[in-house]
C-alpha cells in the first residue's frame, strides 16, 4: 500500500487540477453565452436578407451571375473553421475526420490555429490561414471570404465549401460540410436561406415590386453580400460550438477530478488507519514482551 505521504501529495495535485478545470469551465460558460448572443443578434439581419432574396426569386430567370454557374469541379476550395486553443474535447478531431475524407484535389483555407497545424502536418494544400479574435467582428471574416471569392472567380478553385462544427445545442456540435458556392439553383438557395433564418413572413402586398436600378443589378449586389454574411454566420456558429464543447469537456474533467479525489481520500484514510493499527500492535507487543 502506498504511504500516506504519497497519497497526500496526489490528493493535492488532483485538487489543483480540479480547481483549474473548474475555472476554465466557468470562463467557457460565460464566453458561450456571449457567442450565442452574437449569433442571435445577427439573426434579424439574415432574416431580412432572406426575405429580400425571396422577393427577387421570381425574377431570377433573367439574371446571370458567376456565382450561379455550375462548373466542372476540378479543385475544391475548402474553408476549415477550427479553434485556436485545445482542451475542447473531440471538437477539432471530428472536423479532421471530414478533412481526411476529402480525396479529390482541394485547396484549403483555414480559420483557427488547430486547423492550420493539422493541414500543415498532413501536407495538404493550405492557401491561407487566418486567426480571428474572440469578439468576432464582421470585418474580420470579410478578408477570408474575399480571398476565397477571388480565387473562385479566377478559376483556381471551383467550389467554396466550409467545414465547421455546427452548433446544435450545448451538448451537441455537429461537424458539417456546407457548400456555399456555386449556388446551384437559386430557388433551392432561397429556400435554404429562409429555413436558416427561421420563420420568414411575407407581408400582404401583391402589387408588382419595382427594382431600382434593375433586378439584375440588385441581385448582383445582394448575392456577394449574402455569401459574406453566410460565411460569417458559420464562423459565429463555430465559435458558439467551441465554447460549449470546451465547457462540457471541462465539466467532465472537473467531475472526474472530484471522483478521483473521493477515491484517494478513502484510500488515504485506510492507509492512515492501517498505520495506526500497526503502531498500536507494535506497542502492545512490546509491552507483552517486557512483562
Amino acid at each position: 500500500m502506498a504511504s500516506t505521504r504519497d497519497i497526500r501529495r496526489r490528493i493535492k495535485s488532483v485538487k489543483n487540477t480540479r480547481q483549474i478545470t473548474k475555472a476554465m469551465e466557468l470562463v467557457a460558460a460565460s464566453k458561450m453565452k456571449k457567442a450565442q448572443q452574437a449569433a442571435l443578434a445577427g439573426r434579424a439581419y439574415t432574416q431580412l436578407m432572406a426575405k429580400m432574396l425571396a422577393r427577387l426569386g421570381p425574377r431570377i430567370a433573367e439574371v446571370k451571375h458567376p456565382f450561379l454557374d455550375q462548373r466542372e469541379i476540378k479543385t475544391r476550395g475548402i474553408l476549415l473553421i477550427t479553434t485556436d486553443k485545445g482542451l475542447c474535447g473531440p471538437l477539432n478531431a471530428n472536423l479532421f475526420k471530414h478533412v481526411v475524407e476529402v480525396r479529390s484535389p482541394a485547396k484549403f483555407f483555414s480559420i483557427g490555429r488547430k486547423g492550420s497545424q493539422f493541414l500543415a502536418r498532413t501536407k495538404r494544400d493550405l492557401v491561407a490561414e487566418f486567426t480571428v479574435s474572440d469578439r468576432l467582428a464582421f470585418a474580420e471574416v470579410k478578408p477570408v471570404v474575399e480571398l476565397m471569392v477571388k480565387a473562385y472567380l479566377e478559376g483556381q478553385i471551383d467550389t467554396i465549401e466550409v467545414i465547421y462544427p455546427r452548433f446544435k445545442n450545448t451538448l451537441v456540435q455537429e461537424p458539417t460540410v456546407r457548400p456555399v458556392l456555386p449556388l446551384t439553383s437559386l430557388g433551392e438557395f432561397i429556400a435554404n436561406a429562409q429555413r436558416e433564418a427561421g420563420d420568414v413572413t411575407t407581408t400582404e402586398d401583391n402589387r408588382d415590386m419595382v427594382f431600382e436600378p434593375s433586378a439584375q443589378e440588385v441581385l448582383e449586389a445582394l448575392i456577394p453580400f449574402y455569401v459574406n454574411r453566410h460565411i460569417y454566420q458559420l464562423v459565429v456558429s463555430a465559435r458558439a460550438s467551441e465554447h460549449s464543447a470546451r465547457m462540457v469537456a471541462m465539466k467532465t474533467a472537473k467531475d472526474n477530478a472530484t471522483k478521483l479525489l473521493g477515491d484517494l481520500t478513502l484510500e488515504y484514510n485506510k492507509a492512515r488507519q492501517a498505520a495506526i493499527t500497526a503502531e498500536i500492535l507494535e506497542i502492545a507487543a512490546a509491552q507483552f514482551a517486557s512483562v
Binding site: A41, K51, R55, D205, F211
Partner: protein
Amino acid sequence: MALTLEIVTPEARVYSDTIDTVVIPTVQGEIGILAGHIPLLTQVEYGELRVTKGGVETRLAVGKGFAQVEGDVVSVLAEHAITESKIDEAVVEEALKRAEQTLRFTKPEDFEYERLQNMVNFIGAQLALKRRGR
C-alpha cells in the same frame, strides 16, 4: 396610415418604429417614402437617412446596403447605421485620420482596400451629417 421603419445592421437592430416619412439615400439619388408607396427594392448608398415622425426629424448615417418597401413596411439592411446623437465627432475624426493613413499604404488591388474605402466613406457620411446639423 403610418409607415413602419426598421433599420438592421449585422450587429443589431438599430431602429424600429412607426414613422411618417423617410428619405433614403440610394444609388440613384435620394428617395422619399410615404405610406402607400409601391413595393420597391433598391440599393442604399453612403449618406444620410432622414426620418420624420410627428414633425420631428431624426437623422442617421448609413452605410451600403439594401432597402425594401412592402406593404407600408420599410426595411433597411445596411452594413452600418448610427443615429446622429450617437456620433462623436472627435472619435470619428480620429478614425478617419487613421483609416486614410492606412489607405495611403494600401494598393487598390489589396482586399483590405475596399474595406478601408468603405470605412472612409461611412465616416465621411457621419461627419457630413454632424457638421450640417449645426
